[in-house]
Symmetry: C2
Subunit: 458 residues, 2 copies
């Protein structure tokens, strides 16, 4: 480690981004529009505004403005947990014996423990500005629900979180963080909604699913005055908000005086990866660089490496608009032994389109290998990573080891999206040697594809 | 919030302290020496070196050098999690409607979740430099054991952590973090030591105690070749290492252009408070300021506000040297309903001496009030605090509210030592409304005082 080159860079507050970067405004072709599943026609802004905040819908449909100003009410909140550090992984490089330079952007230094707060802040702010009284959402593992609880508390909004019942039982402490921030946490399915009551009647004793929780949260939002539904990934406006990750990373790497050869992120719904790559992808789309963009997904939920590019529901209860994306089919469920997040059946339409058009490479990783990388990283770099984030670590380590073979001095940037403090049951199974890998068979995948909807003729 | 005044300050790495500040070198009178309980004579360096690392013993006995250089091997590790942010609590000030300025130094942004890593890093480094192969320690709630696990992994030392059995059962995830960093976690009492076997025979089925865990860790250290015991608070060299907290705080407050009127910290063993106040207390001892120093202890374990200034064992198994300190008697046990740490029967000899000489004010707080302050803080400032740290928040809030009454624009600095991510059972009892306060009666205290040792005549 040199005294002249910093170990990590925190930007000064006046260097923080003033605007989000709207990647869509750089894309030559846009992804296909959301369709109303009843009519087969593109969703109108009005239809979307019944569910989502007005300003978020505007951002969702904006493919023109390259920069969208971060409102003062959001940038003030961002100062509570941003800028996040951009770290040179000296100790990891040394342990690997690689000539590569490895950098990571760490988004876990906040109580929600992940990057999710970047969009939670923006969406809660817009809800408040619109004069709403409350918002609803769903959460599985709990990262998103925690982030939104913090934002709702900050802006003074009531929040109901429909938490997948089995998760709320397995992760009582995640639930407790949300309660501490004043959120109402409702194990789903619940008897508070029509959707919940229907599921409970059909499957008494079920542990619930994300699809059911989404259905309940949407129903609660649309049936409550001055209330809207808020989503933590996949959608274009969520990727927009997450562009602060990439923008800060670029400013910090500029200070280091380096430009990445490869940018790596884990992909579940795609929002952190979309945010991290934003400024470099914008330059790539203008033919200003030849950066390689590498998404890493779990082998147990391989929506891009083994999915189809097709119109599908965003939820597994088949109530949302249809999005054209890489998907395993909204009926696909990853094996229950899969730890951590990244278990979404589909993928952000923006990321899907960029992948389809050849701008992104995607690889998949088995979780036992992912945890190997996580533990190596924790011991070298001091941070216990979220299992999600460890997918990116695994790929970064692989790239760095390739450089050791070839002697290349590549500059590797990866996104360390969060901490694993609430994932210690998974670490326990790794430490105990009982963690297993399950990769879906082709026949498993075929079952999922059968759930793909028929898109109505327009 | 003004654009011109930052919300928080991260020092640049070249502004980080190069030396620790040895507060004892500024004190006109030193605290009384450690005594060998068998002989009643002051412990020699040789006696201490049988248990502790040589360099730590040297630092323990050094009351001359005002500055002690931070070795490069430690400062490199510090860069992984330091500098820590110094934050202006704008949102809290606004919520309280106070004219006071509130600043806090946040030490929780690392995987151990607290300031403990500052001394763990130094002690593990010195152990490695001395050529040791392994170290031992005890842990109760787990913050210290986690910090030392991280440091041991970084420097390549084997570590055995004797964890109070009931804690290891109640906090399995704390244990899992330590295991992930490669530490061996042994529920105490265990059958691996004479001390453990004795207790197990006498009290089969006991949940253990910190005193027993210390006894086991010390025995394991002295009976293993190339092994020493490491302690996370109380001792002078631990306070020395923690002075980085105060030194960084002062550099950052200088950048803000302010000097504190009052410096507030929670006190358990005294290491974080001793570290936070170090530079300001050094100036106070030279009559260069009139800063008020306020320690906050739990009403359920009031070692300073209701304890005696006397020689006592540092552990409750009565095997360590005797220290003169404020103590409730080494046999005192706080009520089991007391959440979080700060449950030590005694107090750092340095802090005890400064308190005895009138340089420090101490107050106590009931835990339900402490959690009120914790939740207010979490919702305003975004950080879920450790219950320990929330004692300082409670006092800072009280001081700020006094300023609202008087109109004084005091500058308040407090130490936010850690996060509450592993304390959510306590938050649950607060959220459920089942948290109670238990304040020891005078008769409870008398029982504790009866355990005070008779100091042998010398």
């Amino acid at each position: 480690m040199s005294d002249k080159i910093p170990y990590k860079i925190y930007l000064n507050e006046d260097e923080m981004p003033k605007s989000w970067l709207n990647l869509k405004a750089y894309m030559k072709e846009q992804h296909d529009p959301f369709l109303n599943p009843a009519t087969g026609k593109p969703c109108t802004a009005e239809e979307l505004e019944a569910v989502f905040c007005k300003e978020c819908v505007k951002q969702e449909l904006d493919s023109v403005d390259r920069e969208i100003e971060i409102p003062r009410g959001v940038s003030d909140f961002y100062k509570m947990f941003r800028p996040s550090p951009l770290v040179r992984a000296y100790f990891l490089e040394k342990a690997l014996g690689t000539p590569a330079q490895i950098y990571y952007k760490f988004e876990g230094n906040n109580t929600s423990g992940s990057h999710k707060l970047n969009s939670a802040a923006a969406q809660a702010y817009y809800a408040k500005e619109q004069g709403l009284k409350s918002i609803t959402t769903e959460t599985g593992a709990g990262q998103w629900g925690t982030a939104l609880s913090m934002a709702a508390a900050f802006y003074g909004l009531d929040l109901s979180v429909y938490m997948v019942k089995i998760s709320s039982e397995q992760k009582p402490y995640r639930k407790e963080v949300m309660r501490t921030y004043g959120a109402k946490v409702i194990p789903s399915p619940s008897d508070t909604t029509e959707a919940g009551r229907k599921i409970l009647k059909e499957f008494p004793g079920t542990g619930g699913s994300l699809g059911c929780a989404i259905a309940e949260a949407v129903e609660a939002a649309v049936s409550t005055p001055d209330c809207r539904y808020v989503l933590g990934s996949v959608l274009d406006h969520v990727l927009l908000h997450q562009s602060v990750i990439g923008l800060e990373s670029k400013t910090a790497l500029d200070k280091y005086g380096v430009y990445p050869d490869i940018v790596i992120g884990c992909v579940g719904g795609g929002s952190n990866f979309g945010g991290l790559i934003a400024p470099y992808m914008a330059e790539r789309l203008q033919n200003k660089n030849s950066v390689e963009f590498l998404g890493v997904e779990p082998a147990s939920c391989p929506s891009m490496t083994r999915g189809k590019y097709a119109y599908d529901f965003c939820d597994s209860a088949c109530i949302t608009p249809l999005a054209r994306m890489y998907t395993l089919g909204c009926g696909f469920m990853p094996s229950p032994n899969h730890a951590g997040g990244l278990r979404y059946h589909g993928m952000s339409p923006v990321i899907s389109k960029l992948y389809h058009d050849g701008y992104i490479r995607v690889t998949s990783a088995e979780q036992s290998k992912v945890f190997d990388a996580a533990v190596t990283f924790a011991r070298c770099e001091g941070i216990l990573p979220a299992p999600e984030s460890a997918h990116a670590i695994k790929a970064a380590v692989d790239e760095a080891l390739k450089c050791r073979e070839t002697g290349e001095k590549k500059v590797i940037l990866f996104g360390l999206t969060g901490t694993g403090y609430f994932d210690l049951a998974a670490y326990k199974s790794y430490n105990d040697g009982t963690m297993t890998d399950v990769i879906p068979t082709d026949s498993d995948l075929q079952k999922g594809f059968k759930s793909l909807p028929k898109v109505p003729e327009t």
